[in-house]
């Protein structure tokens, strides 16, 4: 199987443990949405999964062969494995012309090109045009949205089989975000690449994720097919006893009570359907509402 596997990933910064034994399998040819609150550990997880950071404990392996006799490769400190992965981080540019800030965009892109064996310069040129990015500008002169465009261009043009986008749409205006989703889908359709996209703008990207991964406080709490998840999780409200009866024996995520009325976020069995009755109302929820119910603070 062509997969990238994280097994028991623990990451500590000093005494602060930010990932608590994450197991995650990414299959080839899927688009994953990585969703988590600020500080949940998304960037740390992606940087470890891409071999840019060492894990305190645990292992990341990647396999690019369907032959089961071929052993998966360890990612850490292994160039053959690293060649398969691109993690396009958010670029932080300090004011002034030191470091990356002093580079012109085209020089930054030229440097990026050397890191990825499959880098596609033509695709880069096309994306630069599509985003109307001025490559003669210095990085320090770019807005937050323009810096996001640069990371998107590198990630897509890398043509790496496993490509991780870290909040690619942060700071992009709505038209540029649409452009990104369309181009990403186009590139995805033409290749067999795996994309992991972390984002806080959940709803507009929900439909492009085949699967979603919820990361909460350093743990993967859910990894599901997006459409199936949205079909299975419902908001049930009404008379307390009736709502309790439905919650009984089911996975319940978030409960609210107002007087005699009660509301709960409930996960149904696959294929199960719950209908409105005189005493309860059953409503569908979107991905964002499901995320808040699962990862928000308890009321």
């Amino acid at each position: 199987m062509k997969t990238l596997n994280c097994t028991g990933i623990v990451k500590k910064f000093g005494n602060n443990e930010v990932l608590h034994g994450v197991d995650l399998t990414l299959e080839k040819g899927k688009i994953y949405g990585l969703i988590g609150r600020n500080g949940a550990g998304k960037t740390t997880l992606l940087s470890i999964a891409s071999g840019q950071n060492p894990a305190t404990k645990g292992e990341v392996t990647v396999s690019n062969s369907d032959d089961i006799a071929v052993q998966p490769m360890k990612v850490w400190d292994n160039q053959d494995a690293l060649d398969l992965i691109c993690f396009s981080r958010e670029i932080n540019v300090t004011a002034g012309n030191q470091g990356i800030g002093g580079l012109k965009v085209k020089d930054y892109l030229r440097a990026a090109r050397t890191y990825f064996p499959n880098y596609d310069k033509e695709l880069e040129d096309r994306l630069v045009k599509e985003f109307e990015l001025d490559v003669k500008k210095r990085m320090s002169k770019l807005s937050k949205g323009m810096l996001s465009m640069v990371t998107i261009i590198v990630a897509l043009a890398s043509r790496a089989p496993y490509t991780f986008f870290d909040e690619p749409v942060a700071g992009l205006d709505v038209v540029a975000r649409e452009t990104f989703y369309k181009i990403a889908l186009e590139e995805f359709a033409e290749s067999e690449r795996t994309f992991v996209i972390s984002t806080h703008i959940i709803e507009e990207a929900a439909d492009i994720f085949e699967e979603v991964i919820f990361l909460d406080k350093g743990q993967v709490i859910l990894k599901e097919n997006t459409q199936e998840l949205v079909e299975r999780v419902v908001h049930v409200s009404g008379k307390e006893e009736e709502v309790d009866a439905i919650c009984e024996g089911r996975k319940v995520y978030h409960v609210e009570k107002i007087g005699r009325s009660k509301a709960a976020t409930v996960m149904l069995e696959p294929g199960e359907e719950l209908k409105n009755t005189a005493d309860i109302t059953v409503q569908p929820m979107n991905l964002q509402q499901i995320f808040v119910a699962m990862c928000g603070k308890e009321a």
Binding site: K30, I31, E178, Y181, K182, L185, E186, F188, A189, D207, I208, F209, E210, T226, Q227, V230, E231, P284, N286
Partner: protein, 120 residues
């Protein structure tokens, strides 16, 4: 294929309904090729797997058929098939509900038929 996706229903169901609507409106003709799942994915910015799920519903119900290596095509008789199924659904989802509510309101069958006549 120019409708907008809403949040009311599952995306793949909307995809299959949109293709059906286009067939009913003669936008897509019988024996004509329908857009590929990758085209649909791009048009609606959705995952190709979701688009494929919507298309496969129509393959399973016989509205579309697959030509290996070429793509999906509208079956001969697709329009009739869709109308037949939709009529059955119309009966289940609407007509029954109307009759039920008419009963709740103490209306007779004649009252209901008169009402339908007026609306027509």
């Amino acid at each position: 294929m120019n409708e907008i996706l809403s949040k009311e229903k599952s995306i793949y169901i909307q995809i299959s309904e949109m293709i059906e609507n286009d067939i009913l409106r003669d936008i897509l003709l019988e024996e004509e090729k329908v857009p590929s799942t990758n085209d649909l994915a791009k048009i609606y910015t959705i995952n190709p797997a979701t688009a494929a799920k919507g298309v496969n519903i129509l393959v399973d119900s016989g509205v579309l058929y697959k030509k290996r290596g070429i793509g999906m095509f509208v079956s001969a008789g697709a329009k009739k098939l869709i109308m037949k199924r939709r009529k059955a659904e119309f009966y289940e989802n609407y007509v029954r509900a109307i009759v039920e509510e008419a009963k709740n309101l103490g209306m007779t069958k004649e009252d209901l038929i008169k009402m339908i006549d007026e609306a027509n």
